[in-house]
């Protein structure tokens, strides 16, 4: 949509700019350095801090002008302003001086120091000498849990934290207290911050009030970190991150702006889950089991080669891929074992669900939206998914989407979207229609127009009904009660009226729900709507693995002399224990390539250490179908190698040609493109290792990286050449290109005068807009040709509560249900005990109370769980925490029996 440009005059020069933005955003995108605090591109403006002052002139004859706040001023045609008028500059400096009056002398021990927006702004305004000679007001701190450190003295009252936490992310437990000079930002009492997005406070806060507590344990200044563009591996959304290393350990993860995916934000699982990389459970050496009875022993690489070579001679080699391994690693494995022996290594339910979702997305009936597009939806229907726990950033995007109605209303009366306080004041409780059907309460329910509590069958039936109300061609559902019919009608109406209808399903759902969704999409399409479908898949590369050919677990047949190769996969989290035990027992040799010790890797005969996302590179396909690449933050330290490199070694041992031709990462990508033409876009779009900026590699380290000649001097005073990276266009040193690289290769955000992560603005066309050269990642499933489309007719039977036992549905947890992040130190402290949620009626039936520990038996699997009473759970149903550490895998939903212990 092209908009007419407007002309504004800044300090005598005329610029053509886009209308509808505020003046601050406009000036920032033009490259002017205007200081600001309370404004944040994702939060909008409130005009609270008074720092972004500019001078506005009435007309060309007006020589005096008046000072206005640029964040509250729209960029309109004919505007004449000055950003460097001496009066304005003095004004900004005096504002900053006042803000600094109570700021403590903390910088040397403050974790924000060196990437502090307040420091940047202080330097920018030129306030450099403290004149305020009186005592400083002080505050007590609060312990806000394992993620966020609180240091209230440093606060400059910009209100960004509460605006983000409450207004943007819907948190309830952080607020502002006190008045005047005593304003306090914190909780009403000490305690862990409840929001899934609390980590963003560390980046949103312009100073060091909220800082990353996991970083604090091994603190390193921003300038000392070796960074790489990375992709979050903890869910399927594929948020872009910057992962950073110092002294051989991963130090932190921060946001890397991607206008199409995560914008400026990350969820706590993504931000703090990185600690697993430094876990004591890491496999750092090859291990070998001499005979089936003996224990695993640590060996040299050369010592395991004979055993590997023997194992790989077997006629029957079976490979298990993994949804948390990169495309390249999975592809390499399928080459090793042969495509006919390549198994996806996920539960059959998940396998078929993923394949079905892919089929729906590629059918042409429905669009797979980016998070940016999700934010633009104005009617949303969520079926059977607790998005907040399975794809938190998707939930956050949905939260923003519900504001669209109020934004439209505001724009109608001339309040622009960025005028945040005014829009919210006007909105009150107006939300875009959001409908949630889920077995239990989800955090998004508070925004929903209606909620429907039911099991997957009933949710699917609701979905089928909605489809039938949108289009008469869709099969109708019999025996619906009148309430549900009305609800379905209401949902159908809202979707029909909406410009951008969005349907959300996910891993907690089943194939019935996916069928219903497909019907809704098809029905919407038949009335010329463009429906979107967002699917919360379980893992970072679930979609990528789904695209690849491979077999489900159920088709597995094991011969006696089978060699099993398991790639980054804990099968015990995928399939019932008895099945896996049975499988592993039958196999002659079990080769496991993994990063962390888990139940599967501890059963390996040959255990091979592989690099995590921080020590390898690879491509992941997110739930949208967007292929994105992560790069080594630091080189894998031998014998740890990238999975694809180890597998290439295995292929070499096996004697296949790929073994020798796969020397570099790009070689594997090239082979992959030949086998899977759909991935050819990856090769075209993502820069290969030969890419150079002005004949230079892109530097992973900042120009101010310190300690080069001392950091390894304790080992040897003779300095080594920095490690070379043949697999990517990035360099492991401070030598190299330091400017704005292609968006997918941005190792850190920095610009002269902008040391905080808000330097990201300099990498964009406009704040909160697209990155220069386009947002990272390439969509693989797009513009698919319309296949033959017909409505699904297999409507399930309604759910009936059983007399014997409860219908157990999985309850995913943001902290704990994902394997890798659960091994992080801070994050693991947030993992709940295994629990079961039932309503009071069922609890009374079984005469159990809240917090009781009970035995739950599902098909011979017994698990000890804590009881939580949750009124939202329907009768006859219970929610069981899903795949928490220490819990056996149970394929849900199933009937289970509770016994008091």
């Amino acid at each position: 949509m092209e908009v007419a440009m407007v002309k504004i005059q800044i300090d005598g020069t005329i610029y053509e700019v886009k209308p509808g933005k505020n003046l601050l955003e406009t000036c920032l995108s033009l490259g002017f350095d205007i200081p600001y605090f309370c404004f944040h591109p994702s939060l909008g403006s409130v005009g609270a801090c008074r720092l972004c002052a500019v001078k506005k002139y009435a007309n060309s004859n007006d020589k005096t002008g008046r000072i206005v706040m640029s964040c509250m001023e729209p960029a309109v045609d004919g505007l004449i302003i000055s950003v460097k008028d001496p009066e304005v500059k003095a004004f900004r400096a005096s504002i900053l001086e006042s803000l600094m009056a109570n700021h403590p002398h903390d910088c040397p021990v403050c974790d924000e120091g060196g990437e502090c927006h307040l420091q940047d702004m202080t330097v920018m305004t030129g306030h450099n000498y403290r004149r305020f000679d009186f005592k400083k007001r002080t505050h007590k701190n609060q312990n806000l849990g394992p993620f966020i450190h609180h240091e209230m003295n440093r606060c400059i009252q910009c209100y960004r934290c509460v605006r983000f936490y409450r207004d943007y992310a819907g948190g309830k437990d952080l607020n502002v207290f006190g008045s005047a000079n005593n304003v306090y930002f914190g909780r009403h009492e000490e305690g862990t911050l409840e929001s899934e997005f609390s980590g963003n406070l560390a980046e949103i806060c312009p100073t060091g009030v909220f800082t990353d507590k996991t970083l604090k344990k091994h603190f390193t200044r921003k300038w000392d970190l070796t960074n790489a563009p990375s992709i979050c591996v903890h869910c399927s959304v594929g948020c872009n991150t910057i992962a950073s290393e110092r002294y051989g350990s991963l130090r932190r993860v921060v946001n890397r702006y991607n206008g199409d995916v995560n914008g400026y934000l990350l969820c706590d699982r993504g931000r703090f889950g990185y600690e697993f990389v430094n876990s004591t459970k890491r496999i750092k050496n090859p291990q070998l089991r001499q005979s089936k009875e003996s224990a695993l022993e640590v060996k040299e690489v050369s010592e395991i080669i004979p055993k590997l070579s023997e194992a790989l001679k077997s006629k029957n080699i079976v490979g298990f891929g993994s949804p948390r391994a990169s495309l390249e690693a999975n592809f390499a494995l399928s080459k090793l074992v042969g495509a006919e022996n390549f198994y996806h290594g996920i539960s059959d339910k998940e396998y078929h669900f993923t394949k079905l979702c892919l089929q729906i997305l590629t059918s042409g009936a429905v669009h797979s939206p980016s998070l940016k597009e999700v934010e633009k939806a104005n009617a949303i229907f969520i079926l059977g998914e607790d998005v907040t726990n399975t794809a938190p950033m998707l939930a956050l995007a949905i939260r923003q989407a519900t504001r669209n109605k109020s934004i439209e209303k505001a724009e109608k009366i001339g309040i622009p979207k960025w005028n945040d306080a005014a829009v919210r004041e006007l909105a009150q409780n107006i939300h875009s229609p959001l409908f949630i059907a889920s077995p239990y309460f989800t955090k998004l329910d508070e925004l929903a127009e209606t909620t429907y509590r039911a099991t997957s069958e009933d949710i699917a039936r609701l979905g089928f009904a909605v489809a039938s109300y949108i289009s008469n061609d869709a099969p109708s559902v019999d025996n619906l009660n009148i309430d549900i019919q009305n609800q379905a009608k209401r949902i159908a109406d809202a979707l029909k009226q909406s410009k951008n209808p969005l349907i959300v399903i996910g891993v907690q759902g089943n194939e019935d729900i996916a069928h219903a969704t497909a019907n809704i999409a098809l029905a919407l399409k038949s009335i010329d709507k463009k429906p979107s479908l967002s699917i919360a898949l379980p893992e970072s590369n679930s979609m990528g693995l789904g695209i690849m050919e491979g077999k489900p677990f159920g088709e597995l047949k094991i011969e006696n002399d089978t060699t099993l190769v398991i790639l980054e996969n804990d099968l015990y989290r995928r399939v019932e224990k008895s099945l896996v035990d049975n499988l592993l027992e039958k196999c002659q040799n079990i080769i496991v390539l993994d990063q962390l010790m888990n139940e599967t890797s501890s059963k390996a005969d040959i255990l091979i250490p592989t690099g995590t996302f921080a020590e390898s590179e690879g491509t992941l396909v997110n739930n949208e179908g967007r292929a994105q690449r992560y790069y080594n933050v630091y080189p894998a330290i031998e014998p740890i190698r990238e999975s694809w490199r180890w597998i290439a070694e295995l292929i070499r041992i096996q004697g296949k040609p790929e073994g020798n031709s796969w020397q570099k990462f790009d070689d594997v990508v090239n082979s992959m493109v030949v086998s899977y033409p759909i991935f050819s876009k990856i090769k075209e779009y993502l820069p290969n290792a030969d890419f150079r900026m002005f004949n230079e590699k892109i530097s992973r380290q900042t120009m101010r990286f310190s300690g080069r000649t001392a950091m390894n001097a304790n080992i040897s005073v003779h300095e080594q050449k920095p490690p070379q990276d043949a697999d990517s266009p990035l360099a492991f040193s401070m030598e190299g290109y330091q400017g704005v690289p292609p968006s997918s290769l941005t190792p850190f955000h920095w610009a002269p005068g902008w040391n905080s992560n808000q330097a990201a603005n300099k990498y964009m066309v406009e704040p909160n807009g697209e990155l220069k050269g386009g947002n990272p990642g390439i969509r693989l499933i797009e513009n698919t040709t319309d296949q033959q489309q017909s409505y699904y007719k297999n409507i399930p039977q309604p759910f009936k509560p059983r007399n014997e036992g409860l219908f157990i549905v999985p309850v995913h947890q943001i902290f704990g249900s994902e394997e890798l992040s659960s091994n992080g130190e801070a994050l693991s402290s947030r993992i709940p005990e295994p629990f079961i949620k039932i309503n009071l009626k069922e609890a009374t039936r079984y005469s159990i109370r809240s917090n009781d520990t009970v035995h739950l038996t599902v098909e011979n699997i017994d698990v000890l769980v804590k009881v939580e009473i949750d009124a939202s759970i329907p009768d006859g149903v219970a929610g069981l925490s899903f795949n928490l550490p220490g819990m056996p895998f149970i394929s849900l939903p199933k009937i289970g029996v509770i016994k008091k212990s």
């Binding site: 700021h103 403590p104 002398h105 903390d106 910088c107 040397p108 021990v109 403050c110 120091g113 060196g114 005592k135 400083k136 007001r137 002080t138 505050h139 007590k140 701190n141 240091e151 003295n153 440093r154 207290f177 006190g178 008045s179 005047a180 005593n182 306090y184 604090k216 344990k217 091994h218 603190f219 390193t220 200044r221 300038w223 000392d224 110092r246 002294y247 101010r704 990286f705 310190s706 300690g707 080069r708 000649t709 001392a710 950091m711 001097a713 304790n714 040897s716 005073v717 003779h718």
Partner: protein, 171 residues
């Protein structure tokens, strides 16, 4: 022509001048206290490490020969877990001392750092840390900072008002 002869003559006369060279090491020259020699880490008047591991010295170092890692004690007090200076790289420019916000890192007049083994030029914290305050006495960073890291409670530092009582309506 004359000037050439004059130069020769004047140079010859230098044979009778006093020599400028000092016979080091038999005779030690005087070095002022602010001479830039061996680097030390000092302690505050209470005998605690002054270094707060802020990394500014490392950042200022033009040859990048300082490397350290921050850690915290049970009170949250920041101090360096290790602090390493590679003196085989050090150029004794003194920028680290200038950058130091806590007077922890100081240069001393000791310049006799010769070693036969280059590895011995790598100094760890135990080699750098002295028991005294060095050139600058009486300063304790944690008393002037806003943080409470076991040195003073919130609101009890120099230049601080008592903490705000949020439950009070009187303010």
């Amino acid at each position: 022509m004359f000037s050439i002869l004059r130069s020769i003559w004047l140079t010859f006369l230098h044979a009778f001048h006093k020599r400028e060279t000092v016979g080091y090491p038999e005779k030690k020259p005087y070095l002022p206290p602010r001479y830039r020699g061996r680097i030390v880490l000092t302690r505050d008047s209470e005998g605690n490490e002054r270094c707060v591991a802020c990394n500014l010295c490392a950042a200022a170092c033009p040859v990048d020969c300082i490397s350290l890692q921050a850690t915290e004690d049970e009170n949250g007090r920041r101090y360096p877990e290790f602090f390493r200076i590679n003196f085989s790289r050090c150029i004794f420019c003194g920028l680290c001392e200038e950058a130091c916000p806590t007077y922890a890192i100081q240069l001393t007049p000791d310049f006799e750092l010769g070693e036969y083994d280059r590895q011995s030029m790598v100094y760890e914290k135990e080699h750098l840390l002295i028991s005294g305050e060095g050139k600058y006495h009486g300063y304790n960073f944690y008393k002037n900072a806003g943080v409470d890291m076991g040195v003073k409670a919130k609101g009890e530092g120099e230049n601080e008002e008592p903490t705000v009582d949020l439950k009070s309506l009187l303010k």
